[in-house]
Symmetry: C2
Subunit: 345 residues, 2 copies
């Protein structure tokens, strides 16, 4: 008993294949009674269109590629949930890790071509995955691309994107630290020129400059957006006596790494050192001490990103490119405190 195909349905319903196909794909163009009859047969024999045949015939798969820096980063969990929720069962999501791609761009393109992906969501806008290079190659049409989470640099401004105002968020967080009396603030950032942190660095520098701190950009350390990155930076920063009194970290993992170094060195957080993270991942609230941080609406980022992609897929003629700015929120917990007066030691 083989899997039923469209021809069995057609035979049983007494119509042609074309009509069955229309019932599936453009029911509005089918007579009500015919439609009902065909649907009944479909139901009765449990017919399901062969996706492989559909994809082949239509010349495109049902695969959406989502590029993340690192699947393990807990921030992606909610975002991916949001994406899957919207894309639903109509599309399959496959993940690619930018950090794992030593071969970089070539393999990325390979994958796009080989898998005949229908759309791309970039949750990391590294140069390797320059969205301008998506499509237009190898006889492929240009693919819809949406950028999520990351700000979009000016030269990519024509691409739809969904993210918070990173500049403003970093400005707010830094201002909060400044308001607590801190002046010796260091910003532990990600890779130099990484798009996700550039805006944050500018926000930091701007707040610092407004508060009269000299050469704020000298207070920015570049590294890796990871626990290891936080550890490395903290070792450089906290080993010396004239260490900063507050650390603003480009993400929570960095902050967690930095706090562990502080603990090792016997520096108390927040008494001797305030630490502020970014993202409000699930590990922030239970850190010891609980981490103050900047929250992003991650699930919403995923949902909105996916909705924009869906729109682009369903309305290829509609070239409207939206930039959606979602709200951020300062979450103050226990890892930050007012600057202690000098005579502390």
């Amino acid at each position: 008993m083989a899997k039923p195909t469209i021809v069995q349905v057609a035979r049983l319903a007494g119509v042609s294949n074309s009509t069955v196909s229309r019932c599936l794909n453009q029911p509005e163009n089918v007579d009500k009674k015919t439609l009902a009859r065909v649907r009944k047969v479909i139901e009765d024999i449990g017919y399901r269109p062969n996706l492989l045949a559909q994809n082949f015939r239509r010349g495109q798969s049902d695969i959406v590629l989502v590029v993340v820096h690192n699947v393990g980063a807990s921030i992606f969990s909610n975002i991916l949930d949001g994406i899957r929720g919207v894309l639903g069962s109509r599309f399959s999501v496959i993940l690619m890790e930018s950090r794992a791609e030593a071969q970089g761009h070539a393999r990325f393109i390979d994958l796009l071509v080989a898998k005949q992906v229908v759309g791309v969501i970039l949750l990391c806008a590294s140069p390797t995955f320059d969205p301008r290079l998506i499509g237009g190659f190898d006889h492929q049409p240009r693919l819809p691309v949406v950028i999520g989470l990351e700000p979009v640099s000016a030269d990519l401004a024509d691409l739809p994107s969904v993210h918070i105002d990173n500049h403003r968020a970093a400005f707010d967080a830094t201002t909060y630290l400044l308001d607590m009396g801190h002046r010796e603030i260091a910003f532990i950032s990600g890779e130099k020129d990484s798009p996700i942190t550039l805006d944050r660095e500018r926000g930091f520098a701007e707040a610092m400059a407004q508060a009269g701190c000299a050469a704020p950009s000298a207070r920015i350390l570049h590294g890796d957006l990871s626990i290891q990155g936080g550890i490395a930076a903290a070792h450089r920063l906290l080993g010396r006596p004239e260490r900063p009194t507050a650390l603003f970290c480009a993400n929570d993992d960095i902050a967690l790494g930095a706090m562990s170094v502080a603990a090792q060195l016997g520096i108390s957080v927040p008494e001797d050192l305030s630490v502020m993270g970014f993202d409000d991942t699930i590990y922030a609230a239970t850190a010891n001490p609980p981490l103050s941080t900047v929250a992003q609406p991650t699930r919403e980022v995923g949902e909105r990103t996916a909705k924009q992609l869906l729109h682009a897929l369903d309305h290829p003629e509609d070239a409207e490119q939206l930039t959606e700015i979602l709200p951020h929120r300062l979450i103050i917990r226990k890892s930050t405190a007012p600057l202690r007066q000098k005579g502390k030691a």
Copy 2:
């Protein structure tokens, strides 16, 4: 300029489509010289087989479905890396979250049927994803399934699986705690009857019983393998005066949640309470205090699981079912310490 197809290659090489196809799929059956000529043409015009057509024609996709409880759990990061490394570019990995599947089994089957997945890796052997139900339904052939990370219950013993000896690992960890003088030890586990924790619970109970502790299974709390689960259990456990002196947690997230509750309640870890985790995720080492835990070779779990699947895919006739037991390792950091003598308070 359309994407080149097999017929252009055939024409340019002066052979038939069949021969080009053979060059691609069974080069050993092609004359060396013909092969070389065809390959040259392929190279020259940049031909790449249309995967969509291949999949359709062969009646199967190149998709491997990996089921995890929760993508965000950091333990899966390395495992997925391992899987991807082995499955490489030949297959696409799509992820399904068991926790997200309220509809459960039905949707799972739907996905399998609809996407025509070629193989399944189960990183969570919940009843919803009972591997015996994979395949055999809806006119589909039985699919190769490999279980990773989780122990396999006796009734599924005919399925290949890759995991540590969870019973032994829990026994070892509990014994370590007992050797430190602890007797009032609680085990915070996952869902009741969750296969991943059953073996661990038995290992715990066995070690406790050997040490003469009465009713060890009464010391097992069931909840959720998450930070929230750890928080909930810790609230039940640590609120009362006759609280345990040591907590053994079924994973690191639980331990992190429990430690945060201890911190809130002013209970010092490890002075007043030893806490032991499981998995050695990236958040264990930088916790405050750094978390003692049981490490699993996660990347290897992924690689071995994927290799078994690959074997099953390439040798469907070979029914050999392997159970691979990988080594575990106790990692002792700062969250565990010898029991303090009574007169502490």
